[in-house]
Subunit: 259 residues, 2 copies
């Protein structure tokens, strides 16, 4: 099964585009053991409500080597029917990108990773050397700094669109997806139109960041998609009971139902 | 002392712009212990010939958590008078970038890191919150993919130049430097002209990648600079005697002498 097929199967099985993000803040989870304990609980409860998990590499690296290993342990606890994204936003020249790909896919066990397009196509290609690998290229991010460069007019086309069109013309386009923030649904619609319905989009920015779920579903037009929710869930996870956490998961699951 | 002052002092003390890169391939160094042993030897010998070391995070991460800790151990072995760059090419939204900064500066002990500009200013600012931190923003990279986006015409100005001008106008410009590949000395001259002589440039791409050292020195015009050599040194390090390694180090030290 290719990584994209695994993603499609996970969305179909869960009946929702919900991706649960785990960005465990250093001041809340003070040790790698605390990360593993909380992460295992999160995975166990959330697996019934989501298609995928997105683990944010930074918050594990902040704990040093033991944090890195905690992430590997956590990913190993995810049920096989759920898709795993390691959000690492890497990119580098040839052999370095290969080393990152080894760390993320072979060591950590990711099904997909996030990558940064600035260095160009040859800095992304090593992340998708096999069909079991998939890389979500950053197109439009959900932070305010997205305006600094991503929206620049490059000969009549904004940079983010040039990025998407460039990668979508590669021979390995079937192993790519794109990150498009939920806060700009019209750009999500524009990207979906360029790549067609069978290219996965990873959409952060709903929940705490305020993206409109109905607008996201509309813009996606039924394509392969994961909508990531992290902070809005985490408040209930860290501050409430398991039942309260399950309730908010169920709410997002239904809001993001595939039909 | 600020990070930039430490860099200036290291260059003055060594009398050379030489930065020694350590990108230990996974198929040569098969364990974290092998990384540490080789790395310590490299640091011990090379400290007499260079101003700085650049450690490539990817090749340590490829060994998992123990690789990450090996990098911290190696950095701790670098003499205080030498500058340490962790080449990690990170960037992410607010709290995530803070976690990366914690991992790279607090956990690993970097004096400076490399960062990717695509996500904008707010994805870089968390890396330079204190004067003891410095971030080299990718401007022109030395890979062929640099042409894909970095050279795009954005309203009469290539993207890389727009990146440099945007960051150079921030309030934290004194904590920034730029990565400009040696393979395009004319672009190095252009960046130097924009930022002035007191902003550090990190220049990869001489040695194995074929950049012309004389052209680089000319383009730099006496500004703060580090010229990284990795692969060309590594061949002698892995395949020769300590004396042969010292000889090639000494050759690059002299080629890159500050006067």
């Amino acid at each position: 099964m290719t990584s994209r097929e695994k993603l499609v199967a996970a969305i179909a099985d869960a009946g929702t585009y919900l991706c649960v993000g785990f960005d465990p803040p250093l001041d809340v989870y003070r040790s790698p053991d605390a990360l593993i304990e909380a992460g295992r609980t999160l995975v166990r409860i959330a697996s019934d409500y989501c298609a995928a998990f997105k683990f944010n590499s930074a918050f594990f690296e902040a704990h040093g080597g033991a944090g890195f290993d905690a992430l590997a342990e956590l990913i190993a606890s995810v049920p096989e029917r759920r898709y795993v994204i390691v959000d690492a936003k890497r990119a580098d020249i040839g052999s370095t990108a290969e080393a990152y790909a080894h760390a993320l896919f072979a060591r950590l066990g990711a099904d997909a990773v996030t990558v940064n397009p600035y260095m160009g196509r040859d800095a992304v290609e090593p992340f998708v050397r096999t069909p079991e690998q998939l890389a979500f290229v950053l197109a439009v991010t959900s932070n305010s700094g997205a305006d600094d460069f991503q929206m620049l007019d490059c000969g009549g086309v904004p940079l983010y669109e040039h990025v998407v069109r460039t990668f979508d013309r590669t021979e390995w386009r079937d192993r790519l997806g794109y990150v498009v923030g939920a806060t700009r649904a019209e750009l999500l619609a524009a990207v979906r139109k360029i790549v067609g319905s069978d290219v996965p989009l990873l959409v952060p920015g709903v929940g705490a960041q305020g993206g409109d779920i109905a607008a996201v579903l509309d813009a996606n037009a039924g394509g392969i998609m994961l909508v990531n929710v992290s902070r809005a869930l985490h408040e209930r996870f860290a501050g409430g009971t398991a039942g309260e956490f399950a309730a908010v998961l169920d709410r997002y699951r239904r809001l993001l139902a595939t039909r």
